[in-house]
């Protein structure tokens, strides 16, 4: 029983990451009809926003420590962050410690800007082009973005820990009066889950309760009609793209403490996020979220020892297997609308 609760927790957590990435993708996919292979790269850039902020905060000048030596036997160069001089060592350390949450503030405008530049500079010219061209150009862009990151940050993962306050884990077992340590869950993952829920909720609210959102939703249902109504779709598409980029970027920022970011993390998530969006159904935001959680939970269950003993290797293929089953039983995914990306 504990094991199942635990895996549901895991699934929700994983699912929230999937849902968050898929949400941004489906906004672009569903509204603009653009197959954006650079979406994973946006996620990755979000993560590297966090890395960059933490690097900026720890920007240092070197001081020679004569008492210690480095690997060549010379006096050790010790880095002293400038921030110590501004805020003092204790406060400085606290700020550095909180670099990931701080990054969120910076990541939002940066990601919106990147999204807007991408849309204005490139994607806009591809709305009317075949999907094949969209794939080629966005794939090219994804490669370029990831190689640029690799050039500056290297290929290895870079540790970006969560603030000290969020390290360690929460004991659900003790809270529920069950055996202690039976069900524990890391604080940061709970934060990630809550954060995802807030972002998803915010995006839904934005689309549900604002006029802008109504137009966009109408556009997702029937793009032609909205165009015929004489609404300036161009500007809204730009904003949508910025929004989608921001959602992907935030997902990336918050993900950094869970797994150290590296330059190809976007590609790792790209295929998965496409699967999530399509299983959810093209053009359906709630479908994407639902599919994200469903696949997250099933993936977690598939990794349980009992399951693996019965079906060896099931953990390798569960996501794809579920995708096939869903698409065969429900022609347009879980909640897809007719006519979107079917031609």
């Amino acid at each position: 029983m504990d094991a199942i609760i635990l895996q549901i927790l895991n699934g929700l957590d994983k699912g929230s990451a999937y849902a968050l990435i898929a949400l941004g993708l489906t906004l672009i996919f569903g509204t603009l009809g653009v197959v954006n292979f650079a979406h994973g790269a946006l996620f990755m850039i979000g993560a590297f926003c966090a890395v960059t902020i933490s690097r900026l905060l720890t920007l240092s000048h070197t001081v020679l420590d004569e008492t210690r030596t480095d690997f060549l036997g010379k006096p050790l160069k010790v880095d002293v962050p400038y921030i110590y001089e501004i805020f003092g060592e204790t406060a400085g350390n606290t700020i550095i410690d909180w670099s990931v949450p701080i990054s969120i503030l910076f990541a939002i405008p940066i990601m919106i800007l990147i999204g807007v530049i991408m849309e204005r500079g490139l994607i806009r010219h591809f709305y009317k082009r075949p999907h094949a061209d969209q794939i080629l150009v966005t794939f090219g862009l994804a490669i370029v973005l990831q190689e640029v990151i690799k050039y500056f940050y290297g290929a290895n993962p870079i540790p970006t820990p969560a603030p000290e306050a969020f390290k360690g884990s929460f004991d659900f077992g003790a809270m529920l009066g069950l055996e202690a340590s039976g069900i524990i869950y890391p604080y940061w993952r709970l934060v990630y889950f809550a954060f995802s829920a807030i972002i998803i909720g915010a995006v839904f609210a934005f689309l549900q309760f604002t006029t802008f959102g109504m137009v966009v939703r109408a556009g997702m249902a029937d793009r032609e009609t909205v165009g015929l109504l004489g609404i300036n779709i161009d500007k809204r598409f730009t904003i949508m793209f910025g929004l989608a980029a921001a959602v992907a970027g935030l997902a990336g920022v918050m993900y950094t403490p869970i797994n150290s970011p590296n330059y190809h993390m976007g590609m790792d998530f790209l295929v998965l996020s496409f699967v999530v969006v399509v299983v959810g159904g093209m053009g359906s935001l709630s479908g994407a979220v639902l599919a994200g959680f469903l696949l997250g939970i099933l993936e977690s269950f598939a990794s349980m020892t009992v399951v693996l003993e019965a079906l060896p290797g099931i953990n390798q293929i569960i996501i794809y297997l579920v995708a096939i089953i869903v698409l065969l039983t429900r022609p347009r995914g879980l909640m897809g609308k007719a006519g979107v990306m079917e031609e």
């Binding site: 927790l9 060549l72 150290s260 990794s303």
Partner: protein, 452 residues
Amino acid sequence: MSKFELTRRGLIKSSAVVGAGLAMPTLIINSANAYTNEPKGGSVTLGFNVPQSGPYADEGADELRAYKLAVEHLNGGGDGGMMNTFSSKMLKGNGILGKKVEYVTGDTQTKADAARASAKSMIEKDGAVMITGGSSSGVAVAVQALCQEAGIIFMAGLTHSNDTTGKDKKANGFRHFFNSYMSGAALAPVLGKAYGKDRKAYHLTADYNWGYTTEEAVKSSTEAMGWETVNSVKTPLTQTDFSSYIAPVLQSGADVLVLNHYGGNMVNSLTNAVQFGLRDKQVNGKQFEIVVPLYSRLMARGAGENVKGIYGSTNWHWSLADEGSKAFVKSFGEKYGFPPSQAAHTVYCQTMLYADAAERAGTFNPCGIAEALEGFEFDGLGNGKTLYRAEDHQCFKDVLVVKGKENPTSEFDVLEVVEVTPVDQVTYAPDHPQMRDANGNAVAVGTCNPGA
């Protein structure tokens, strides 16, 4: 049967009939070479085949740095590095056999296909006489098989699976790096001492060949010591989030978690395990511990503080105080500004060992070199006394057991050596069960192929 024989660029370079105006075309059908890519000019070309893209690009870059350093030293540049401490004194800094050492580079992408394509281009286009490098066992085994076929010596880079010199060993292939068996054998006594002989272990294993051999090696040596293995779960290579594998560990009653993961998998699974607070827990009245059988310092940096206090093994570490290591760290560090990784060390050694073998054999003929390397005993390359065993072309040397450092002084200062396990403890018979093929048969190393 075959009338068309392989001919290589090396021949052309020397015998090119470059007339001022009209040149007679020459059609070479029968080879004038004694072996593949026999160097006939004033230089010899080595092929450095390392991952330059993909997740192991940084390890590849470090290997490449070490290769360049080795070439510089072989050609008499720099401070000579480990050439000065190497027990064999055949290398004089005048290239190999008097020929200037040149090199070509390629990108393995950490994919067997790409690695073979790149190696083939070095052999066919550039006339490389030896291929070396790589950062995974899949690539090593694939390229080693290619070199065997082409008649080229393969000096493996970073490859840790037993298979490379076990069931997939080849007469033209040589490995300096240690392997899964050695990791297990070296780790077990240290773990026993540190954590006691009554432990329950839970294995998470990367679901591919290297993972299998590592799990088997660690399992068998820890079980021999008295540990019990409560469970072992295979994780997909492409997994990035290990939470659903980590979460059930505490409920299993295990008190040690063994992560048979490498590279990015290792960074993520270790980070996840620490996140779940495993190391703060008491199970069975004992402190919960995590073990990482194979450490890569470059990658371990990605796990940040999570590696502190975690045991593992490594082929070499820059903090070693022997003369060879010190010389290597000095020349590498002064050239590049940071200490070398174990990948850099092993490929530097491999280059030196190859050059030295060529000098001793007096030829670049793969068979001559293989003969010179087989059973060769040496010292001064940073791992103490080492034997290149004739039966499987595997180096036998001391193995380092390391631990994540508690108070690192720099970003390179991630690991500290806790024990140097003597070579006797990690030596095994060439037909050890872990080195056999799927049917349980011992595999012979075979006969060298000079090509041509």
